[in-house]
């Protein structure tokens, strides 16, 4: 077993890892996009006055939030087919990520909506706004800056959770490194590089998100201290 870092080997496997990175980014991006909408549905479900829908949504959200992503992933990919519901590894991954992070995002939305003072709703009523204008023009624009940090956290979170997709055979960055390792018996370079690639992407993203928060807050005229 050779523990010496080999640059030539590192450069040799780099294209393969970068290709895996593209899939990792796609998985995180598409999964997050789905989660944004599922989160919205969950949030609306928890705010509705229809008791059955309200109750059911709460239970589902609580259930998903209280079980590990990996278990859900295995369930959708390995167990669901036994009930006749078959997904490709990629689709299973997108569904699971979307649902899992959708529940987190619904909580972020809920918190952000509740952060808008109830007097803002009353001002809207006094000006006779319709419900959709109230949401669209007054409430959501104020809730958005509040939701942004939480949404940003989960974007980075979903990105860092993508290596789990390797367990069901989605060929993303982690899986690419696994393949390199099992073919060459060299693990030092591929896994180190995976870590570094994640770092290189996560850090600027987090920084960019913080910048975005400031910009949005400023545009909204809400001074950030």
């Amino acid at each position: 077993m050779n523990l010496e870092w080999r640059w030539d080997f590192a450069f040799e496997i780099l294209p393969q890892l970068l290709w895996g990175t593209v899939y990792t980014l796609m998985a995180a991006g598409i999964g997050y996009f789905i989660a944004i909408f599922i989160g919205l549905l969950f949030m609306l479900g928890q705010r509705t006055r229809f008791y059955v829908v309200n109750r059911a949504t709460r239970e589902v959200v609580e259930f998903i939030r209280s079980t590990p992503l990996l278990v859900q992933l295995f369930f959708v990919f390995f167990v669901a087919p036994q009930f006749g519901i078959k997904f490709s590894a990629w689709n299973a991954a997108m569904i699971t990520l979307g649902l899992h992070y959708g529940t987190y995002l619904s909580e972020v939305y809920r918190g952000a909506l509740e952060a808008v003072p109830k007097q803002q709703w009353e001002a809207c009523k006094a000006l006779n706004f319709s419900v959709s204008r109230t949401y669209g023009k007054i409430i959501l624009p104020q809730a958005f800056p509040v939701a942004l940090p939480g949404m940003g956290n989960y974007l980075v979170g979903i990105f860092k959770d993508t290596p789990m997709l390797a367990t069901i055979g989605v060929v993303e960055l982690m899986q690419s490194a696994n393949t390199v390792g099992s073919l060459t018996y060299r693990f030092l370079e591929p896994y180190t590089m995976v870590g570094i690639i994640f770092l290189i992407i996560s850090l600027p993203t987090a920084f960019g998100l913080r910048k975005l928060e400031t910009v949005v807050a400023k545009r909204q005229g809400i001074s950030k201290k």
């Binding site: 006094a126 006779n128 624009p141 005229g221 809400i222």
Partner: protein, 265 residues
């Protein structure tokens, strides 16, 4: 002819046997109150007497438990269905609510909009005004309340008194038939109360607006009101012209309240 006479004397706002409860607590107890067009009515009384609830009921911010509120003779809180009155739905309320404007204790401006946007948003979206029409109207009103030079600022950059003047302009931009002022100076620093009161004074004297005002500013209520209503435990304990209420109150509660308030000053 008789009928016409009737319409003429129809009050702009009528509370008919209005009751509001929070759980077991009765906040308004079979309230009857008429407000004539162009009248300035002040509501005074100890806290918890239901003063603010009167305004909130008329603005439809609270559900009514019993009774009916009429605006220009038409039921606001109720609508006719098969010949009887049932609780109004959102659609019915929205068809009438634009006639009522309200200014809040905490201003409640939209923080993410500039002063001007605050004043044009509802006229454009609710009344369907063209943007330039709405802007013209807003600029007029901002000029009247002395806030035109701040029209591009966000509310967070304004003092309380300035925010409240913008809130008044915002409510006026809807051209309401009746304005509700809910303790509009209570959240203000003493040195800026005057600027808000002078705007209200102007509305009263120059624009002849119908106003219903809940206030703790006894001097101001006495100066501008056509009628003062003293509320006690969800009822009007005494009402009349300011001279009567402040100089020769008949009700024991009114006397107690006024002496307590005036001594505190």
């Amino acid at each position: 002819m008789d009928n016409k006479e009737n319409i003429k004397h129809e009050p702009l706002v009528r509370f008919h046997e209005v009751t509001k409860r929070y759980g077991s607590l009765t906040v308004l107890d079979k309230l009857n109150l008429d407000i004539q067009a162009n009248e300035m009515v002040s509501i005074i009384g100890p806290s918890g007497s239901g003063k603010t609830t009167v305004l909130r009921m008329l603005m439809t911010l609270e559900m009514i438990d019993e009774g009916v509120i009429y605006l220009e003779g038409k039921p606001l809180t109720h609508m006719e269905s098969n010949g009887s009155l049932v609780l109004a739905d959102e659609k019915h309320i929205r068809s009438i609510r634009s006639n009522i404007g309200m200014v809040f204790q905490q201003f409640n401006l939209f923080p993410h909009m500039t002063v001007l946007q605050n004043c044009v948003e509802a006229p454009i979206n609710v009344l369907g005004l063209k943007p330039d029409e709405a802007e013209e109207r807003a600029i007029d009103l901002l000029g009247m309340v002395g806030m035109l030079d701040k029209k591009d600022e966000h509310p967070s950059r304004l003092s309380g008194g300035q925010q409240q003047r913008v809130a008044i302009a915002r409510a006026l931009a809807m051209r309401p038939k009746v304005m509700l002022l809910d303790e509009v100076t209570s959240a203000l620093d003493p040195e800026v109360i005057g600027e808000v009161l002078s705007v209200i004074r102007k509305l009263n004297s120059e624009h002849n607006l119908t106003m219903l005002m809940v206030t703790h500013q006894m001097g101001f209520a006495r100066e501008v009101s056509d009628r003062v209503c003293f509320f006690y435990e969800g009822k009007i304990a005494e009402q009349g012209p300011p001279s009567q209420i402040f100089e020769a109150p008949k009700n024991e509660r009114t006397k107690q309240f006024l002496s307590a308030v005036l001594n505190a000053n």
